[in-house]
Point group: D2
Chain length 344, copies 4
């Protein structure tokens, strides 16, 4: 299928990641993570995030989020998140059911929580009729394409810790955030006070594989059991390990993410002057949100696959990925212009 702008998970696997899988396919390896590739991958994570980072590989983002919550909270404790959070709207209630914890959604303007938005929800502590707030969960890059600054994360972490709560980052697109911020991962996670990260790889050129990173090993002792009990333990786990080894080697993750971000920038630049298109959110990472002429959408989708974001506003979301090429964008924009001309 032609490369489109539907989602970064419509892209395939970076060839060197695939090569790493092939290279790991020799002889036997003990199952369930007790192999040299997983050891090496964990070392790579520890190099990025600190020596005592406790790393658990899981299958997918939902699995990572569920494991993060389940390990750190008990079922009467609640998670505060944005109403747009993936854990709240896009996981079919997996966190609710698998953890038993309540997810309390907070409306935001731009997908980003702030201390001001969170504070009104910090009450009822010690009152058994209320689910006890215990975690703030943010998404970085957010579902609306926005990015938290280090200071913004610090402020949320400070607030969380003041109330004996944890700060979780759903990092399905954490590499795009790191590239956009031009910061090492730990600068805007661990060093900013984050307690646990769902670290995504699949959306940035991996075949499959995410990791949960706990920064306080005291709090992650139960993680291995919850991973297994949540059906997130991979038997031939060396193939996840091998992917992550290559992902970190030579900062491949960064090359992919930075490229993807640049492509979004390029796309935005190319459509900015088309009067029938109005960008609603300047791209910081790898997504362009725009309001377009309603009649344009269907014919354009036939040529290039992408999703409508908000039907009522005629807003669409165009995602770029590690493999998006400038010519994809040229063709896409040319098609837009051609379709608009035909309308006239």
């Amino acid at each position: 299928m032609k490369r489109g702008f539907a989602s970064d998970n419509n892209a395939g696997v970076h060839p060197e990641i695939l090569q790493a899988i092939a290279e790991a396919n020799q002889g036997h390896a003990v199952g369930y993570g007790d192999d040299k590739w997983c050891d090496e991958a964990k070392a790579a994570f520890r190099k990025e995030f600190g020596d005592d980072t406790d790393v658990y590989f899981v299958f997918n983002g939902t699995g990572a989020n569920v494991l993060s919550i389940q390990t750190m909270l008990r079922s009467y404790e609640a998670v505060l998140c944005a109403t747009t959070a993936h854990i709240y709207v896009d996981e079919c209630g997996a966190p609710d059911k698998m953890t038993g914890s309540k997810l309390i959604a907070i409306p935001t303007e731009d997908g980003k929580l702030t201390p001001e938005l969170v504070k009104p929800y910090l009450h009822g502590f010690d009152f058994e009729h209320h689910s006890q707030p215990k975690m703030i969960s943010i998404t970085q890059v957010t579902e609306l394409g926005t990015i938290y600054s280090v200071e913004e994360i610090k402020a949320l972490a400070d607030l969380a810790h003041e109330y004996d709560m944890y700060l979780h980052v759903d990092g399905a697109r954490i590499a795009n955030a790191a590239a956009a911020l031009n910061l090492p991962f730990r600068a805007f996670t661990r060093d900013a006070g984050v307690d646990v990260v769902s670290f995504g790889g699949t959306k940035n050129g991996m075949l499959s594989g995410e990791a949960v990173l706990f920064f306080n090993p005291e709090l992650s002792k139960a993680a291995k059991y919850y991973r297994k009990q949540s059906a997130q333990l991979f038997s031939k786990m060396r193939f996840v390990g091998a992917q992550f080894v290559r992902y970190f080697q030579d900062d491949l993750w960064k090359k992919m993410a930075a490229h993807s971000n640049e492509m979004a920038q390029l796309l935005a630049d190319k459509v900015r002057d088309i009067p029938e298109i109005s960008i609603t959110q300047e791209p910081i990472a790898n997504g362009v949100f725009a309001i377009v002429l309603p009649e344009l959408i269907a014919p354009l989708q036939e040529a290039f696959f992408f999703y409508i974001w908000d039907k009522n506003r005629s807003e669409v979301r165009w995602m770029t990925s590690f493999d998006t090429q400038p010519e994809d964008i040229e063709q896409f924009v040319a098609t837009i212009k051609k379709l608009l001309n035909e309308k006239k």
Copy 2:
């Protein structure tokens, strides 16, 4: 690592399966299963199991079992299984927690349930104090290396249906069973009355990927939601689809499974006459169970990785896999003999 006899999941991926993954890595594909590889893979399953087979790809065996139970049962309904069943002992309580259903374990001699063993548990129907028996779950090949015949499965299916219950097969090693029985898959599943199958691929040369097969689409309408809510939905699912396409092509699955079974036979034949070794279960599929001289175990494990099955009896389990070579067995047996000689 040297090829050992620990588990068929210590093996890697069949090169042609890996090749299929590489070939699927072109351009973009819609995520979550709506792609041509998954379509083709589903068609391959339907060719084997019947046109209206409802197929759901999941990450691992535990995920497959959980999805099978959750889709067909409600939480007050119970699953009857053997005390040795993987769902009962090796999934850290994932089925119990994720489905809410009770697992009732029945002792067996050889890992195989029979109508006579099951019948005493078929009571309390309509009595709200008791979990309502609703599913019999069997493993084929069993965890003890034994295999159900078509007639044995039919008898269990008839019993299940007489009580308005379902018969589930945990087919983590279903290919080894098909090869050993020399029967098409459907002969000992659907045609024998089975209602739902956890169809395993990972233990027989795939990288990762299992499927749940429902034979009555009326009963599987909720499966897609439960798969997502159980964190078993793969975004780049084309890579699971591509594996299964190749798996069925030219009966690759059968070549791998038959080879694996033959290697177990060869291993058994080679050790049969060693007096310090006593085979406890003649290999029908790809596992050899044997009682060995206790002092032999540790030094042998150093040379070839394998697991102790029952420490008290000094019983070990040696699993062969699609990639086991006759020379691996030669070396293994030679090592055994050498170690035994040294003891004398």
Copy 3:
């Protein structure tokens, strides 16, 4: 303790209800609801709500709400409710955990959902990434003391049924609503299209005991199992049955609820002209919400127990109950006036 205005569940038991318990205390009765008192109580419910009403007694309101949801929904289906709903804020996440279903909270002005408020949440049907909206749950009397009219309920029921969803009423104070509306129960529940009711008795003069009423027996077949599995099955259930028998006899429920409502009216009338008090919601049922001088609250609470509703606004909630006496209100208002005078 002196009668206060904290909650209708701070009141005791109506003497005639207690008498009914005592009268049921003779000889033996089969446990778990298979007794003449429960039969008679169910008949009383069927007289009110229709002959085929399926009635399940449970311990408390949370149990009733959990049973309602669990019986009618599967875990991937969602409940839409107001952000102020008891199931959302006051049950420590019991519905979330015990049913696995997602609760989606909708902001309202006055605790009441409307079709306009609900419609934006009716999307994502058939899309497995989203919890599937399947139930609208309203509270009658609402947690803010407001009441839905028959027409308002009909509109919500029509909307629900248009989308193949159910309408649930959390009727913890349903008797107060019936008295305020001066309508038979079924006029604003079953006849208005409601599918299932949590029918409360405890807050209106009973010792303990609520009932779940299903109006479509096809949908409640599993209820008896879920009640048991949710630990809501009472062994000496005749004592719940006996309470409800008396509750319906001579419309005792209505006398209690109407009296309670009148007392709230009386209280509102008495404080209406005090300039330091501003009623925020005219009492329709048995609650008075008012903004009062902040300094008044603590000393007044010492004399009469009640709760602060919204600390930021200095808003309090005064609940009356079946046993509130006009002289309680006289004393209460006199104390208010005395305290205000002292401040001057």
Copy 4:
């Protein structure tokens, strides 16, 4: 209904317990346990079980067992119990679903676990594929009418603690055990090493009400939340408190339980010499188990309600209760003799 021998929960409420409820029915009391009756009842429990006993009132036995497990275990931890345990067979899977923990059932001869029976299940620690054994749960009096001695309980507690596990007692009939052993409660619970008790009152003359007793307050900090989240929090809780206050006053519990036990003894004595009846378990507490002539059962059940225990063996269970009178037994035995004579 005539007094029968079906279950001690077919009896009503002791008149003085009912009187205590009536006396507590004055004025208002803060809901949810913050009242003087609950305070006094907790003090009574602490007098029996030790000053730092942490006491939680719940609705029923299933609720008590669920709260015990849920507070002390996490979902990947397992409970070991007898195959005859109420939590395993008579709670419709409530513990499994509400706690997520696996229940592993161990066959016994007489309903009693022993260290020898338990030890084979104590393996797989630290191995994430297995549910981690964390609690031994015993029933006292057992479901088969047998009683653990202090030494037997100590042995199980020692074993549990050696493995960093807990010992739980399901004490639905704990009063009958105390009366039969002629020991204070704590002698065979806390002082014998028990960590948590489900303390039953309903089966021994109360209307409704059980308590969970934790002997290590460090381990019960979450209990209040789990109680609420499990829908076991009673709003007008003073009426449970009042029952327990009276229950302990003047050792009313003991008078009731001892009487009930004596009546079982009397019944056994009266039928011992009837050749068509063979007692299978000499009554120690308040149950008589006997094999009777199959033809006798149906006509006898018409006259006096009781349950068949094991249909295959024609074994019945006759339970006595606090209100069983010697003349009930006379009539019962006379009816047996008359029916047997008619058969001849």
